[in-house]
Assembly symmetry: C2
Homo-oligomer: 327 residues x 2
């Protein structure tokens, strides 16, 4: 078995920690694992599969000799990482939005568009968490009939906004007068219909990511998609209430059969329902509440839930590496 | 000023208590206020505007001599109450779903369809909480162009399921191993895409109420409407992500102007957003996130929030009484 020299950028963050755990869980064949973090964390010791390592700065020394680096850092740092990765011919699997819409960079959900990996030029982007679980359910359905449009209302976990957001929620849970700073309003006992900033058209960055990334991954550049992204006081697990309209009527039982037969999906028949607590800690995309829309006979409604830190982030990145490296 | 002899059924419940508070807040002209409750609570003393009364059983003695009774009890008890109300010629304002779809009973949201009160026969139904806030926003928009369809995803507060549901949420917040009984799964740190039971078509009772009640209140018996109703760990305040499709394009600024000019609505311009914590404790229906749908040019998207115990229940019932009694 080939053994891989790997690195993690942003190893101390929520997603970085999850990548570490998932490499171990999946018995990823590591010859070596390096971890890099911000100036603040450099020098800290961190447990890794098979031992303990020190957190390094992100520089030439970090990249030299590695096969693959998982990047779980913000877009500006990811751009610097891409330069280092190119110089050292390291495969960079990037979780930020820096390269997702770059035509030269594949945006990949293993199981949905693996073929996009062919001939990549050293950078592969992993999509936004809310997009990954959506396309995991849309892809099998698109095999039944062409999609006409998709509408989504999300229920997004606080961990999607990083460790500071989780700490903010915990402060609020402990003290009624805790003042929010990560979110525009309190999140405990509340829902906030804003995920990232708003653009001119009234849609948030998160909502536009859902549109553009879904179009790119599914290779449907004209697919109409409109989303409302809402943050909810959930630690782990994004949920999505989705209406999928097809160009013609698709029988509900055919859709159910297709979803149930798709690897990586867990189809939940009525009257059971999938919730974030069902999805937390596993790699499945849970799909339930399947029914024909009362508004359009050609549309189906469904409820999609997945762990935003696992399949929505770390697991998807590790699966990309496994396929890209032929493991 | 005419003084009213009034009663409250289910006075010890969440909505009953709210009716009490709102009668006092609005200086409802009370000559007398009687309260009735379950066998368990009969005999308890309860503070009311201007004093204290004992909880009575719901019987002939309770109804005799009253002008109006606010009913905040379950449908089966509400049917018994209707018989008593008829016998004693008392106006019954009923919050249950027992009579809402009865063609002989007006289903009223003051400000939306006051005219429906004309010639009522002694029972007036107050709609479901999630319906009230929806039609408050839809009604002014329907004045701009006929509605083609409405799609809704809800974020519903736990208090909508009653006091035991709130206690369940509090138990869960305090103890990680608290076992849910009111809800099918844990609600703390979770969202549950089920509000009431499911029907044959895959929609829940709550989702079908949104359809049928909206059609009746707006007098649009064919209006296509599809909803996904989801419970969220919020104490007070339902939220709704709504797509309103019109038969022709409606300018966004015209819609904003109309919403901003409608009494009882609070229009929230971007980049601010309305949340349940903004709506909790007041009688406004907060409407924000107004934007043109990216899927259909004729559709607008909006986010609607209101306090489910106030405008969604108690306030709406008291407003019905004020209009029906000509106060």
């Amino acid at each position: 078995v080939r053994e891989i020299h790997a690195g993690i950028l942003g190893a101390t963050g929520l997603v970085g920690q999850e990548v570490l755990a998932i490499l171990e869980e999946r018995h990823f064949p590591l010859a070596e694992l390096r971890v890099a973090g911000s100036a603040r964390s450099v020098g800290q010791r961190m447990p890794v599969p098979g031992g303990e390592v020190g957190v390094q700065p992100m520089d030439d020394a970090f990249f030299a000799g590695l096969d693959v680096v998982f990047s779980a850092v913000a877009s500006d740092i990811a751009r610097q990482a891409a330069n280092l990765a190119r110089r050292h011919a390291v495969l960079l699997i990037d979780k930020s939005s820096a390269f997702r819409m770059d035509p030269a960079v594949p945006l990949v959900v293993p199981g949905v568009n693996d073929a996009a990996l062919t001939g990549h030029s050293g950078i592969v982007a992993s999509p936004n968490c809310s997009t990954i679980q959506l396309v995991m359910a849309l892809a099998p359905l698109a095999g039944l009939a062409p999609l006409a449009s998709v509408e989504v209302a999300t229920y997004q976990a606080v961990s999607g906004a990083g460790r500071e957001a989780v700490q903010e929620m915990e402060r609020e849970a402990a003290a009624a007068d805790a003042v929010p700073s990560v979110f525009p309003k309190r999140i405990i006992g509340n829902v906030i219909p804003q995920v990232e900033t708003f653009g001119e058209n009234g849609y948030s960055v998160e909502e536009m990511k859902l549109l553009h990334e879904t179009r790119k991954i599914m290779n449907l550049p004209e697919l109409p998609l409109a989303a409302t992204a809402v943050r909810v006081p959930v630690y782990r697990g994004h949920a999505e209430a989705v209406t999928v309209d097809f160009v013609r009527e698709v029988p509900t039982d055919e859709a159910a059969g297709r979803l149930a037969a798709t690897p990586g999906l867990r189809y939940v028949p009525m009257p059971d329902v999938p919730t974030p607590l069902d999805a937390a800690g596993n790699d499945l995309v849970w799909v339930g509440r399947l029914r024909r829309s009362l508004v359009r006979e050609t549309a189906l409604q469904l409820f999609i839930v997945s762990d935003n830190l696992r399949k929505g982030a770390a697991t998807n990145a590790v699966q990309i590496a496994e396929r890209a490296l032929g493991l």
